[in-house]
Amino acid sequence: MKDKLREAFDQVRADEEMKNRTMVLLSQKTKGYTRWRAQNYRWLVPAMLCMLFLFAGGKWLYFTPMLEISIDINPSIELGVNRFDRIISVKGYNRDGEKLSDSLNVKYMNYTEAVNEVLQNETIVALLGEDEIMTIGVIGTGEAKSMTVLSNIESCTAGEKNAYCYYANAQETEAAHEMGLSCGKYRAFTELRALDPNVTAEEIRNMTMREIRNRIDELSGEGGNGTDAADSSADEENTCRENPGRKNAQDGHHGKRHKHRHSG
């Protein structure tokens, strides 16, 4: 058996052609037996691709806004918040808003710190001192995170008697941004337009929230004191409840808002 196998295996031989091809190829691959390190860098290609994917993925994770915080007094600004609760964009929606966003240095800050920074900004402090109304809106897609953010922002604004917080659905902001308005201004605009169809987005853009509120109060025939203004603001927020599932959560926040109002 051994001999038979040996003889059979002996029949199998590498042909000269293949040997020669291998010799030529080796000579090519080693650049005439001088350079062989070049091919050792081949692993770099997949490694670089991996790095690129990780980098792009990380960038996407970090720079995709999860929700927005719309702050309106007269300056209207919107802060984009990513999934790590960091501010990734600051945008002004009118002249004052642009001025304010330029003066703010809140990028990459935690959103509560950023809101505090806005509240402590000289312009904002001065405006609130003049009894202007400030609205802070959390604009999300209805997930629990938006509610957490809303409640955190409410605790930030607890000391401000004229600051009102609300939640709005992201769909609403699309219409607002199309008109070049921030969400807070847009909501006031839709409310005012219901009473005065001639009002334009242009007019609204540079009016203060207090002015808009007073116009609404005038047109709806209510008194112009702060409490009424705040009440109609609450009504306005009712119109913004687009997601019935969120009603309870928002009611909870309403309660809190009333508390602020009475404390003022």
Binding site: M18, K19, L26, Y33, R37
Partner: protein, 166 residues
């Protein structure tokens, strides 16, 4: 490992002349087609060219070639796209050149499961002992003894008497 680790062209060509037949036979018992055999040739000899290993003697060198070839064949077979059918016609470029008697023997070897083929070749052709085969294949010596005995039986069954009783 610096540039001087690379072997010279003369050294590589000598190895090609010396070990090509061994590699070809190992390829035959592992692979499915001729193109793969050529791949293995290039892989094994390139590895040899770039390897810094210094061999104690020619036996050591031969065992290195056998081990590297078997590993290269296994790596190739792990590749997703390979088919699982083996026939001599596909493996050999010119199978017709082999006389029918030997063809039958080789076909019988190829018809056995993979784990027996290496053992048959290394034991019957290269004259390695079971402990040596165990070292080359990274298997237990007792396993090798079992594989040798079992393969002997199976070949006998396939090829009948005719000198296969020994």
């Amino acid at each position: 490992m610096g540039d001087n680790a690379m072997r010279s062209e003369q050294e590589v060509n000598r190895a090609i002349e010396k070990y090509s037949d061994t590699i070809k036979r190992l390829c035959m018992i592992h692979l499915k087609n001729y193109a793969d055999t050529e791949d293995i040739f290039q892989t094994v000899f390139l590895k040899y060219t770039l390897s810094a290993i210094s061999f104690e003697n020619s036996e050591h060198e031969k065992a290195w070639f056998i081990r590297v070839t078997i590993n290269a064949c296994r790596d190739l077979l792990k590749s997703f796209f390979r088919s699982r059918v083996t026939s001599l016609d596909e493996v050999m470029e010119q199978p017709a050149e082999i006389p029918p008697d030997y063809r039958d023997v080789l076909e019988a070897v190829l018809s056995l499961p993979q784990k027996y083929r290496d053992v048959i070749y290394l034991h019957y052709y290269e004259d390695y002992t079971a402990p040596q085969i165990g070292r080359i294949l990274g298997k237990n010596v007792n396993t090798i003894y079992t594989l040798i005995n079992r393969s002997k039986q199976m070949l006998r069954e396939k090829l009948g008497g005719d000198g296969f009783e020994g």
